[in-house]
Symmetry: D2
Subunit: 136 residues, 4 copies
Amino acid sequence: MMDYDYKLELKVRDYECDMQGIVNNSVYMNYLEHTRHEFLLGKGVDFAELAKNSVNLVVVRAELEYKFPLASGDQFWVGLNLVQSSKVRFDFLQDIYRCGDNKLILKAKITGTAVNQRGRPYVPDEIKGLFKSEKE
Amino acid sequence: MMDYDYKLELKVRDYECDMQGIVNNSVYMNYLEHTRHEFLLGKGVDFAELAKNSVNLVVVRAELEYKFPLASGDQFWVGLNLVQSSKVRFDFLQDIYRCGDNKLILKAKITGTAVNQRGRPYVPDEIKGLFKSEKE
Amino acid sequence: MMDYDYKLELKVRDYECDMQGIVNNSVYMNYLEHTRHEFLLGKGVDFAELAKNSVNLVVVRAELEYKFPLASGDQFWVGLNLVQSSKVRFDFLQDIYRCGDNKLILKAKITGTAVNQRGRPYVPDEIKGLFKSEKE
Amino acid sequence: MMDYDYKLELKVRDYECDMQGIVNNSVYMNYLEHTRHEFLLGKGVDFAELAKNSVNLVVVRAELEYKFPLASGDQFWVGLNLVQSSKVRFDFLQDIYRCGDNKLILKAKITGTAVNQRGRPYVPDEIKGLFKSEKE
Protein backbone atom coordinates (compact mmCIF):
# COMPACT_ATOMS: atom_id res chain seq x y z
CA MET A 1 0.00 0.00 0.00
CA MET A 2 1.20 3.50 -0.87
CA ASP A 3 1.90 6.23 1.61
CA TYR A 4 -0.76 8.91 1.44
CA ASP A 5 -0.61 12.64 2.18
CA TYR A 6 -4.17 12.54 3.39
CA LYS A 7 -6.79 10.00 4.39
CA LEU A 8 -10.51 10.37 4.95
CA GLU A 9 -12.76 7.69 6.43
CA LEU A 10 -16.37 7.47 5.32
CA LYS A 11 -19.28 5.05 5.41
CA VAL A 12 -21.55 3.87 2.62
CA ARG A 13 -25.05 5.34 2.83
CA ASP A 14 -27.87 3.11 1.63
CA TYR A 15 -29.21 5.67 -0.88
CA GLU A 16 -25.84 5.45 -2.65
CA CYS A 17 -26.49 1.81 -3.54
CA ASP A 18 -28.31 0.89 -6.72
CA MET A 19 -30.48 -2.04 -7.74
CA GLN A 20 -27.43 -4.32 -7.85
CA GLY A 21 -27.18 -3.75 -4.09
CA ILE A 22 -23.78 -2.08 -4.41
CA VAL A 23 -22.58 1.52 -4.49
CA ASN A 24 -23.37 3.01 -7.90
CA ASN A 25 -20.33 3.75 -10.07
CA SER A 26 -21.01 7.49 -10.18
CA VAL A 27 -21.00 7.77 -6.38
CA TYR A 28 -17.27 7.06 -6.18
CA MET A 29 -16.80 10.37 -7.98
CA ASN A 30 -18.66 11.98 -5.07
CA TYR A 31 -16.43 10.25 -2.52
CA LEU A 32 -13.32 11.34 -4.42
CA GLU A 33 -14.49 14.94 -4.80
CA HIS A 34 -15.42 15.23 -1.13
CA THR A 35 -12.01 13.85 -0.14
CA ARG A 36 -10.20 16.33 -2.40
CA HIS A 37 -12.16 19.26 -1.00
CA GLU A 38 -11.57 18.16 2.61
CA PHE A 39 -7.87 17.75 1.89
CA LEU A 40 -7.72 21.20 0.32
CA LEU A 41 -9.73 22.77 3.14
CA GLY A 42 -7.31 21.30 5.68
CA LYS A 43 -4.55 23.10 3.78
CA GLY A 44 -6.44 26.38 3.78
CA VAL A 45 -7.78 26.15 0.22
CA ASP A 46 -11.57 26.58 0.28
CA PHE A 47 -13.19 25.33 -2.94
CA ALA A 48 -16.47 27.14 -2.24
CA GLU A 49 -14.71 30.41 -1.39
CA LEU A 50 -12.61 30.18 -4.57
CA ALA A 51 -15.74 29.51 -6.67
CA LYS A 52 -17.40 32.63 -5.21
CA ASN A 53 -14.34 34.61 -6.30
CA SER A 54 -14.56 33.10 -9.81
CA VAL A 55 -11.43 31.00 -9.38
CA ASN A 56 -12.74 27.60 -10.39
CA LEU A 57 -10.86 24.41 -9.68
CA VAL A 58 -11.91 22.04 -12.46
CA VAL A 59 -11.38 18.41 -13.34
CA VAL A 60 -10.06 17.92 -16.87
CA ARG A 61 -9.59 14.17 -16.78
CA ALA A 62 -10.58 11.21 -14.61
CA GLU A 63 -9.37 7.64 -14.70
CA LEU A 64 -11.03 5.13 -12.43
CA GLU A 65 -10.30 1.45 -11.98
CA TYR A 66 -13.11 -0.35 -10.21
CA LYS A 67 -11.55 -3.26 -8.29
CA PHE A 68 -14.27 -4.41 -5.93
CA PRO A 69 -17.65 -2.90 -5.04
CA LEU A 70 -18.63 -1.29 -1.75
CA ALA A 71 -21.98 -2.34 -0.30
CA SER A 72 -24.42 -1.31 2.42
CA GLY A 73 -22.78 -1.01 5.82
CA ASP A 74 -19.22 -0.82 4.49
CA GLN A 75 -16.82 1.65 6.00
CA PHE A 76 -13.96 2.75 3.80
CA TRP A 77 -11.16 5.23 3.59
CA VAL A 78 -9.83 7.32 0.73
CA GLY A 79 -6.09 7.90 0.44
CA LEU A 80 -4.86 10.92 -1.51
CA ASN A 81 -1.59 12.14 -2.98
CA LEU A 82 -1.23 15.33 -4.99
CA VAL A 83 1.45 15.72 -7.68
CA GLN A 84 2.10 18.32 -10.36
CA SER A 85 1.77 16.71 -13.78
CA SER A 86 2.40 19.67 -16.09
CA LYS A 87 2.79 23.42 -15.98
CA VAL A 88 -0.92 23.97 -15.56
CA ARG A 89 -2.16 20.61 -14.32
CA PHE A 90 -2.06 18.57 -11.13
CA ASP A 91 -3.02 14.97 -10.42
CA PHE A 92 -4.87 13.69 -7.41
CA LEU A 93 -3.94 10.05 -6.97
CA GLN A 94 -6.81 8.65 -4.97
CA ASP A 95 -7.36 5.09 -3.80
CA ILE A 96 -10.28 3.68 -1.85
CA TYR A 97 -9.88 0.83 0.63
CA ARG A 98 -12.48 -0.98 2.68
CA CYS A 99 -11.90 -0.63 6.40
CA GLY A 100 -11.14 -3.74 8.41
CA ASP A 101 -9.43 -5.79 5.73
CA ASN A 102 -7.95 -2.91 3.66
CA LYS A 103 -9.31 -4.50 0.50
CA LEU A 104 -8.60 -2.29 -2.51
CA ILE A 105 -11.89 -0.96 -3.90
CA LEU A 106 -10.90 1.67 -6.47
CA LYS A 107 -7.83 3.38 -7.90
CA ALA A 108 -8.26 6.80 -9.46
CA LYS A 109 -6.24 9.56 -11.05
CA ILE A 110 -8.11 12.84 -11.17
CA THR A 111 -6.38 15.56 -13.15
CA GLY A 112 -7.29 19.12 -12.34
CA THR A 113 -6.41 22.66 -13.19
CA ALA A 114 -7.64 26.04 -12.07
CA VAL A 115 -9.37 28.49 -14.36
CA ASN A 116 -9.11 32.18 -13.58
CA GLN A 117 -11.68 34.91 -14.20
CA ARG A 118 -10.58 35.21 -17.83
CA GLY A 119 -10.97 31.45 -18.42
CA ARG A 120 -7.21 30.76 -18.51
CA PRO A 121 -5.91 27.55 -16.87
CA TYR A 122 -3.17 27.95 -14.28
CA VAL A 123 -1.97 26.48 -11.01
CA PRO A 124 -2.75 28.86 -8.12
CA ASP A 125 0.06 29.44 -5.63
CA GLU A 126 -2.13 27.97 -2.86
CA ILE A 127 -2.16 24.66 -4.77
CA LYS A 128 1.54 24.74 -5.70
CA GLY A 129 2.48 24.72 -2.04
CA LEU A 130 0.68 21.40 -1.61
CA PHE A 131 2.63 19.25 -4.03
CA LYS A 132 4.52 16.35 -2.62
CA SER A 133 8.18 17.16 -3.18
CA GLU A 134 9.99 14.51 -5.19
CA LYS A 135 12.50 13.77 -2.48
CA GLU A 136 9.97 12.84 0.17
CA MET B 1 -35.12 21.79 21.77
CA MET B 2 -36.71 18.35 21.96
CA ASP B 3 -35.08 15.33 23.50
CA TYR B 4 -34.06 12.84 20.84
CA ASP B 5 -33.73 9.05 20.93
CA TYR B 6 -30.88 9.25 18.47
CA LYS B 7 -28.53 11.83 17.02
CA LEU B 8 -26.19 11.63 14.05
CA GLU B 9 -23.62 14.26 13.15
CA LEU B 10 -22.72 14.82 9.50
CA LYS B 11 -21.02 17.40 7.30
CA VAL B 12 -22.19 19.02 4.08
CA ARG B 13 -20.33 17.76 1.02
CA ASP B 14 -19.81 20.26 -1.76
CA TYR B 15 -21.44 18.08 -4.44
CA GLU B 16 -24.66 18.28 -2.40
CA CYS B 17 -24.88 22.02 -3.00
CA ASP B 18 -26.63 23.40 -6.05
CA MET B 19 -26.22 26.54 -8.12
CA GLN B 20 -27.72 28.63 -5.30
CA GLY B 21 -24.64 27.65 -3.27
CA ILE B 22 -26.75 25.80 -0.70
CA VAL B 23 -27.65 22.17 -0.09
CA ASN B 24 -30.28 21.11 -2.64
CA ASN B 25 -33.73 20.42 -1.17
CA SER B 26 -33.71 16.76 -2.22
CA VAL B 27 -30.47 16.08 -0.35
CA TYR B 28 -32.12 16.53 3.04
CA MET B 29 -34.13 13.41 2.19
CA ASN B 30 -30.79 11.61 1.86
CA TYR B 31 -29.62 12.91 5.25
CA LEU B 32 -32.89 11.84 6.86
CA GLU B 33 -32.84 8.38 5.27
CA HIS B 34 -29.24 7.76 6.26
CA THR B 35 -30.03 8.80 9.84
CA ARG B 36 -33.05 6.47 10.01
CA HIS B 37 -31.01 3.55 8.69
CA GLU B 38 -28.16 4.21 11.11
CA PHE B 39 -30.62 4.47 13.99
CA LEU B 40 -32.27 1.18 12.96
CA LEU B 41 -28.92 -0.53 12.47
CA GLY B 42 -27.86 0.50 15.96
CA LYS B 43 -31.01 -1.24 17.19
CA GLY B 44 -30.24 -4.40 15.22
CA VAL B 45 -32.61 -3.70 12.32
CA ASP B 46 -30.66 -3.90 9.06
CA PHE B 47 -32.54 -2.20 6.19
CA ALA B 48 -30.38 -3.87 3.52
CA GLU B 49 -30.77 -7.32 5.10
CA LEU B 50 -34.52 -6.89 5.34
CA ALA B 51 -34.72 -5.81 1.69
CA LYS B 52 -32.80 -8.93 0.64
CA ASN B 53 -35.43 -10.98 2.50
CA SER B 54 -38.24 -9.09 0.74
CA VAL B 55 -39.31 -7.24 3.86
CA ASN B 56 -39.31 -3.69 2.62
CA LEU B 57 -39.46 -0.70 4.93
CA VAL B 58 -41.18 2.00 2.89
CA VAL B 59 -41.98 5.67 3.31
CA VAL B 60 -45.65 6.47 2.73
CA ARG B 61 -45.60 10.14 3.59
CA ALA B 62 -43.04 12.89 4.13
CA GLU B 63 -43.51 16.38 5.52
CA LEU B 64 -40.55 18.72 5.49
CA GLU B 65 -40.29 22.28 6.75
CA TYR B 66 -37.25 24.04 5.40
CA LYS B 67 -36.22 26.62 8.02
CA PHE B 68 -32.73 27.66 6.98
CA PRO B 69 -30.35 26.30 4.35
CA LEU B 70 -27.12 24.42 4.98
CA ALA B 71 -24.10 25.52 2.94
CA SER B 72 -20.60 24.36 2.08
CA GLY B 73 -18.53 23.58 5.15
CA ASP B 74 -21.48 23.33 7.55
CA GLN B 75 -21.55 20.56 10.09
CA PHE B 76 -24.96 19.54 11.33
CA TRP B 77 -26.72 16.90 13.37
CA VAL B 78 -29.98 15.07 12.84
CA GLY B 79 -32.16 14.28 15.87
CA LEU B 80 -34.66 11.44 15.62
CA ASN B 81 -37.65 10.17 17.57
CA LEU B 82 -39.76 7.20 16.52
CA VAL B 83 -43.44 6.93 17.44
CA GLN B 84 -46.24 4.60 16.38
CA SER B 85 -48.90 6.59 14.54
CA SER B 86 -51.39 3.85 13.62
CA LYS B 87 -51.74 0.09 13.62
CA VAL B 88 -49.52 -0.26 10.55
CA ARG B 89 -47.61 3.04 10.48
CA PHE B 90 -44.82 4.68 12.40
CA ASP B 91 -43.50 8.24 12.32
CA PHE B 92 -39.89 9.30 12.36
CA LEU B 93 -39.76 12.83 13.78
CA GLN B 94 -36.49 14.18 12.47
CA ASP B 95 -34.99 17.61 12.95
CA ILE B 96 -31.75 18.98 11.57
CA TYR B 97 -29.64 21.51 13.45
CA ARG B 98 -26.44 23.26 12.43
CA CYS B 99 -23.56 22.47 14.76
CA GLY B 100 -22.01 25.29 16.74
CA ASP B 101 -25.07 27.52 17.11
CA ASN B 102 -27.78 24.77 17.03
CA LYS B 103 -29.70 26.80 14.46
CA LEU B 104 -32.81 24.86 13.34
CA ILE B 105 -32.41 23.90 9.68
CA LEU B 106 -35.28 21.52 8.95
CA LYS B 107 -38.17 19.79 10.69
CA ALA B 108 -39.50 16.58 9.18
CA LYS B 109 -42.07 13.89 9.81
CA ILE B 110 -41.42 10.76 7.80
CA THR B 111 -44.18 8.16 7.99
CA GLY B 112 -43.24 4.59 7.25
CA THR B 113 -44.63 1.12 7.17
CA ALA B 114 -43.25 -2.29 6.32
CA VAL B 115 -44.49 -4.36 3.41
CA ASN B 116 -44.18 -8.13 3.63
CA GLN B 117 -43.58 -10.61 0.82
CA ARG B 118 -47.27 -10.54 -0.09
CA GLY B 119 -47.33 -6.75 -0.29
CA ARG B 120 -49.28 -6.29 2.96
CA PRO B 121 -48.34 -3.36 5.25
CA TYR B 122 -47.52 -4.20 8.85
CA VAL B 123 -45.22 -3.19 11.68
CA PRO B 124 -42.50 -5.80 12.18
CA ASP B 125 -41.83 -6.81 15.77
CA GLU B 126 -38.25 -5.53 15.45
CA ILE B 127 -39.66 -2.04 14.82
CA LYS B 128 -42.34 -2.22 17.53
CA GLY B 129 -39.67 -2.66 20.17
CA LEU B 130 -38.19 0.70 19.19
CA PHE B 131 -41.14 2.99 19.87
CA LYS B 132 -40.72 5.60 22.54
CA SER B 133 -43.17 4.63 25.25
CA GLU B 134 -45.62 7.41 26.02
CA LYS B 135 -44.59 7.73 29.64
CA GLU B 136 -40.99 8.53 28.91
CA MET C 1 -57.75 13.04 -12.34
CA MET C 2 -57.24 16.76 -11.93
CA ASP C 3 -56.69 19.19 -14.74
CA TYR C 4 -53.11 20.39 -14.81
CA ASP C 5 -51.58 23.67 -16.00
CA TYR C 6 -48.50 21.83 -17.09
CA LYS C 7 -47.34 18.28 -17.70
CA LEU C 8 -43.88 16.84 -18.19
CA GLU C 9 -43.13 13.29 -19.26
CA LEU C 10 -39.96 11.59 -18.03
CA LYS C 11 -38.47 8.13 -17.73
CA VAL C 12 -36.89 6.40 -14.75
CA ARG C 13 -33.10 6.10 -15.02
CA ASP C 14 -31.56 3.00 -13.46
CA TYR C 15 -29.14 4.96 -11.27
CA GLU C 16 -32.18 6.52 -9.58
CA CYS C 17 -33.24 3.11 -8.24
CA ASP C 18 -31.94 1.87 -4.91
CA MET C 19 -31.29 -1.58 -3.47
CA GLN C 20 -35.03 -2.20 -3.17
CA GLY C 21 -35.12 -2.04 -6.99
CA ILE C 22 -37.37 1.01 -6.97
CA VAL C 23 -36.82 4.74 -7.36
CA ASN C 24 -35.34 6.11 -4.14
CA ASN C 25 -37.66 8.41 -2.18
CA SER C 26 -35.36 11.42 -2.51
CA VAL C 27 -35.37 11.21 -6.31
CA TYR C 28 -39.02 12.24 -6.54
CA MET C 29 -37.89 15.59 -5.15
CA ASN C 30 -35.58 15.82 -8.19
CA TYR C 31 -38.43 14.99 -10.57
CA LEU C 32 -40.66 17.59 -8.91
CA GLU C 33 -37.97 20.30 -8.95
CA HIS C 34 -37.12 19.68 -12.59
CA THR C 35 -40.81 19.87 -13.50
CA ARG C 36 -41.24 23.17 -11.63
CA HIS C 37 -38.20 24.68 -13.32
CA GLU C 38 -39.32 23.53 -16.77
CA PHE C 39 -42.80 24.93 -16.14
CA LEU C 40 -41.33 28.25 -15.00
CA LEU C 41 -38.91 28.38 -17.92
CA GLY C 42 -41.80 27.86 -20.34
CA LYS C 43 -43.40 30.93 -18.76
CA GLY C 44 -40.23 32.97 -19.12
CA VAL C 45 -39.05 32.60 -15.51
CA ASP C 46 -35.46 31.27 -15.52
CA PHE C 47 -34.49 29.83 -12.11
CA ALA C 48 -30.77 29.87 -12.93
CA GLU C 49 -30.89 33.44 -14.22
CA LEU C 50 -32.76 34.58 -11.11
CA ALA C 51 -30.22 32.84 -8.85
CA LYS C 52 -27.37 34.66 -10.64
CA ASN C 53 -29.17 37.92 -9.88
CA SER C 54 -29.56 36.93 -6.21
CA VAL C 55 -33.30 36.43 -6.47
CA ASN C 56 -33.66 32.97 -5.01
CA LEU C 57 -36.79 30.90 -5.37
CA VAL C 58 -36.84 28.68 -2.31
CA VAL C 59 -38.92 25.81 -1.00
CA VAL C 60 -40.22 26.41 2.52
CA ARG C 61 -42.35 23.29 2.90
CA ALA C 62 -42.86 19.97 1.12
CA GLU C 63 -45.56 17.36 1.62
CA LEU C 64 -45.26 14.12 -0.29
CA GLU C 65 -47.59 11.14 -0.31
CA TYR C 66 -45.93 8.07 -1.76
CA LYS C 67 -48.71 5.96 -3.34
CA PHE C 68 -46.85 3.43 -5.46
CA PRO C 69 -43.20 3.12 -6.43
CA LEU C 70 -41.70 3.69 -9.86
CA ALA C 71 -39.24 1.07 -11.07
CA SER C 72 -36.67 0.55 -13.83
CA GLY C 73 -38.09 1.14 -17.27
CA ASP C 74 -41.15 3.07 -16.10
CA GLN C 75 -42.22 6.16 -17.97
CA PHE C 76 -44.20 8.69 -16.01
CA TRP C 77 -45.57 12.19 -16.18
CA VAL C 78 -45.72 14.97 -13.64
CA GLY C 79 -48.79 17.21 -13.54
CA LEU C 80 -48.48 20.67 -12.00
CA ASN C 81 -50.79 23.42 -10.80
CA LEU C 82 -49.60 26.63 -9.21
CA VAL C 83 -51.75 28.53 -6.67
CA GLN C 84 -51.08 31.45 -4.35
CA SER C 85 -51.40 30.29 -0.74
CA SER C 86 -50.56 33.47 1.15
CA LYS C 87 -49.22 36.95 0.58
CA VAL C 88 -45.67 35.71 0.22
CA ARG C 89 -46.13 32.03 -0.57
CA PHE C 90 -47.23 29.90 -3.48
CA ASP C 91 -48.02 26.18 -3.72
CA PHE C 92 -47.03 23.86 -6.50
CA LEU C 93 -49.53 20.99 -6.50
CA GLN C 94 -47.66 18.21 -8.24
CA ASP C 95 -48.80 14.68 -8.95
CA ILE C 96 -46.90 11.87 -10.62
CA TYR C 97 -48.62 9.23 -12.74
CA ARG C 98 -47.17 6.20 -14.48
CA CYS C 99 -47.64 6.31 -18.24
CA GLY C 100 -49.77 3.64 -19.85
CA ASP C 101 -52.15 2.94 -17.00
CA ASN C 102 -52.10 6.41 -15.36
CA LYS C 103 -51.51 4.78 -11.98
CA LEU C 104 -51.08 7.44 -9.29
CA ILE C 105 -47.51 7.31 -7.97
CA LEU C 106 -47.12 10.39 -5.78
CA LYS C 107 -49.03 13.45 -4.66
CA ALA C 108 -47.07 16.48 -3.53
CA LYS C 109 -47.57 20.02 -2.34
CA ILE C 110 -44.42 22.10 -2.56
CA THR C 111 -44.67 25.53 -0.98
CA GLY C 112 -42.29 28.17 -2.19
CA THR C 113 -41.44 31.80 -1.81
CA ALA C 114 -38.84 34.08 -3.29
CA VAL C 115 -36.13 35.76 -1.28
CA ASN C 116 -34.72 39.04 -2.51
CA GLN C 117 -31.19 40.39 -2.15
CA ARG C 118 -31.93 41.59 1.36
CA GLY C 119 -33.26 38.17 2.43
CA ARG C 120 -36.92 39.24 2.49
CA PRO C 121 -39.58 36.79 1.22
CA TYR C 122 -41.92 38.06 -1.49
CA VAL C 123 -43.73 36.89 -4.58
CA PRO C 124 -42.04 38.29 -7.71
CA ASP C 125 -44.35 39.76 -10.33
CA GLU C 126 -43.16 37.14 -12.83
CA ILE C 127 -44.57 34.44 -10.54
CA LYS C 128 -47.81 36.28 -9.75
CA GLY C 129 -48.76 36.25 -13.39
CA LEU C 130 -48.67 32.44 -13.37
CA PHE C 131 -51.30 31.71 -10.72
CA LYS C 132 -54.35 29.83 -11.81
CA SER C 133 -57.24 32.26 -11.38
CA GLU C 134 -59.86 30.96 -8.97
CA LYS C 135 -62.63 31.00 -11.57
CA GLU C 136 -60.93 28.63 -13.98
CA MET D 1 -17.29 13.78 -35.49
CA MET D 2 -17.45 10.01 -35.26
CA ASP D 3 -20.29 7.87 -36.46
CA TYR D 4 -22.23 6.46 -33.55
CA ASP D 5 -24.23 3.25 -33.16
CA TYR D 6 -26.61 4.98 -30.85
CA LYS D 7 -27.52 8.51 -29.79
CA LEU D 8 -29.60 9.76 -26.89
CA GLU D 9 -30.69 13.36 -26.39
CA LEU D 10 -31.11 14.70 -22.87
CA LYS D 11 -31.41 18.02 -21.06
CA VAL D 12 -29.52 19.31 -18.03
CA ARG D 13 -31.66 19.41 -14.89
CA ASP D 14 -30.92 22.23 -12.45
CA TYR D 15 -30.38 19.89 -9.48
CA GLU D 16 -27.48 18.36 -11.43
CA CYS D 17 -25.57 21.65 -11.29
CA ASP D 18 -23.30 22.45 -8.38
CA MET D 19 -22.17 25.66 -6.73
CA GLN D 20 -19.97 26.49 -9.75
CA GLY D 21 -23.23 26.77 -11.72
CA ILE D 22 -22.27 23.86 -13.98
CA VAL D 23 -23.11 20.17 -14.12
CA ASN D 24 -21.18 18.36 -11.37
CA ASN D 25 -18.45 16.01 -12.64
CA SER D 26 -20.10 12.91 -11.17
CA VAL D 27 -23.35 13.55 -13.03
CA TYR D 28 -21.75 12.78 -16.40
CA MET D 29 -21.35 9.22 -15.11
CA ASN D 30 -25.13 9.17 -14.67
CA TYR D 31 -25.69 10.44 -18.21
CA LEU D 32 -23.31 7.81 -19.58
CA GLU D 33 -24.87 4.96 -17.59
CA HIS D 34 -28.38 5.91 -18.60
CA THR D 35 -27.32 6.05 -22.25
CA ARG D 36 -25.69 2.61 -22.04
CA HIS D 37 -28.78 1.11 -20.44
CA GLU D 38 -31.11 2.69 -23.00
CA PHE D 39 -28.88 1.44 -25.82
CA LEU D 40 -28.86 -2.06 -24.35
CA LEU D 41 -32.61 -2.03 -23.74
CA GLY D 42 -33.20 -1.08 -27.37
CA LYS D 43 -31.19 -4.18 -28.29
CA GLY D 44 -33.24 -6.38 -25.97
CA VAL D 45 -30.72 -6.46 -23.11
CA ASP D 46 -32.46 -5.36 -19.89
CA PHE D 47 -29.93 -4.35 -17.20
CA ALA D 48 -32.54 -4.54 -14.41
CA GLU D 49 -33.80 -7.94 -15.56
CA LEU D 50 -30.24 -9.28 -15.74
CA ALA D 51 -29.48 -7.96 -12.23
CA LYS D 52 -32.57 -9.75 -10.88
CA ASN D 53 -31.20 -12.97 -12.40
CA SER D 54 -27.79 -12.35 -10.79
CA VAL D 55 -26.08 -11.58 -14.09
CA ASN D 56 -24.45 -8.28 -13.28
CA LEU D 57 -23.03 -6.00 -15.93
CA VAL D 58 -20.23 -4.14 -14.22
CA VAL D 59 -17.87 -1.30 -15.04
CA VAL D 60 -14.23 -2.18 -14.46
CA ARG D 61 -12.63 0.99 -15.78
CA ALA D 62 -13.70 4.51 -16.73
CA GLU D 63 -11.75 7.21 -18.51
CA LEU D 64 -13.33 10.62 -18.86
CA GLU D 65 -11.98 13.72 -20.55
CA TYR D 66 -13.87 16.82 -19.52
CA LYS D 67 -13.71 19.24 -22.46
CA PHE D 68 -16.32 21.87 -21.66
CA PRO D 69 -18.98 22.05 -18.96
CA LEU D 70 -22.73 21.77 -19.44
CA ALA D 71 -24.85 24.34 -17.65
CA SER D 72 -28.48 24.99 -16.74
CA GLY D 73 -30.78 24.88 -19.76
CA ASP D 74 -28.32 23.04 -22.01
CA GLN D 75 -29.58 20.25 -24.21
CA PHE D 76 -27.05 17.64 -25.20
CA TRP D 77 -26.73 14.28 -26.85
CA VAL D 78 -24.63 11.25 -26.01
CA GLY D 79 -23.14 9.21 -28.84
CA LEU D 80 -22.19 5.58 -28.18
CA ASN D 81 -20.13 2.88 -29.87
CA LEU D 82 -19.58 -0.57 -28.41
CA VAL D 83 -16.43 -2.57 -29.20
CA GLN D 84 -14.95 -5.76 -27.78
CA SER D 85 -11.61 -4.99 -26.13
CA SER D 86 -10.61 -8.41 -24.81
CA LYS D 87 -11.99 -11.89 -24.33
CA VAL D 88 -14.03 -10.83 -21.30
CA ARG D 89 -14.26 -7.06 -21.70
CA PHE D 90 -16.07 -4.56 -23.87
CA ASP D 91 -15.64 -0.81 -24.26
CA PHE D 92 -18.38 1.73 -24.54
CA LEU D 93 -16.95 4.74 -26.38
CA GLN D 94 -19.21 7.57 -25.34
CA ASP D 95 -19.04 11.22 -26.28
CA ILE D 96 -21.26 14.07 -25.17
CA TYR D 97 -22.05 17.03 -27.41
CA ARG D 98 -24.07 20.13 -26.71
CA CYS D 99 -27.07 20.44 -29.00
CA GLY D 100 -27.23 23.38 -31.36
CA ASP D 101 -23.53 23.94 -31.92
CA ASN D 102 -22.34 20.31 -31.41
CA LYS D 103 -19.64 21.54 -29.06
CA LEU D 104 -17.72 18.58 -27.62
CA ILE D 105 -18.39 18.35 -23.88
CA LEU D 106 -16.88 15.04 -22.79
CA LYS D 107 -15.13 11.99 -24.22
CA ALA D 108 -15.35 8.74 -22.29
CA LYS D 109 -14.29 5.14 -22.52
CA ILE D 110 -16.22 2.90 -20.14
CA THR D 111 -14.94 -0.67 -19.94
CA GLY D 112 -17.36 -3.30 -18.79
CA THR D 113 -17.67 -7.00 -18.26
CA ALA D 114 -20.42 -9.27 -17.02
CA VAL D 115 -20.16 -11.31 -13.86
CA ASN D 116 -22.13 -14.52 -13.62
CA GLN D 117 -23.72 -16.10 -10.52
CA ARG D 118 -20.37 -17.62 -9.56
CA GLY D 119 -18.58 -14.26 -9.81
CA ARG D 120 -16.73 -15.12 -13.05
CA PRO D 121 -16.32 -12.39 -15.69
CA TYR D 122 -17.54 -13.21 -19.19
CA VAL D 123 -19.22 -11.61 -22.17
CA PRO D 124 -22.85 -12.76 -22.42
CA ASP D 125 -24.03 -13.80 -25.89
CA GLU D 126 -26.62 -11.01 -25.81
CA ILE D 127 -23.77 -8.49 -25.58
CA LYS D 128 -21.55 -10.19 -28.17
CA GLY D 129 -24.21 -9.70 -30.80
CA LEU D 130 -23.99 -5.93 -30.31
CA PHE D 131 -20.35 -5.32 -31.17
CA LYS D 132 -19.65 -3.13 -34.13
CA SER D 133 -18.02 -5.39 -36.67
CA GLU D 134 -14.57 -4.20 -37.70
CA LYS D 135 -15.48 -3.76 -41.34
CA GLU D 136 -18.24 -1.27 -40.75
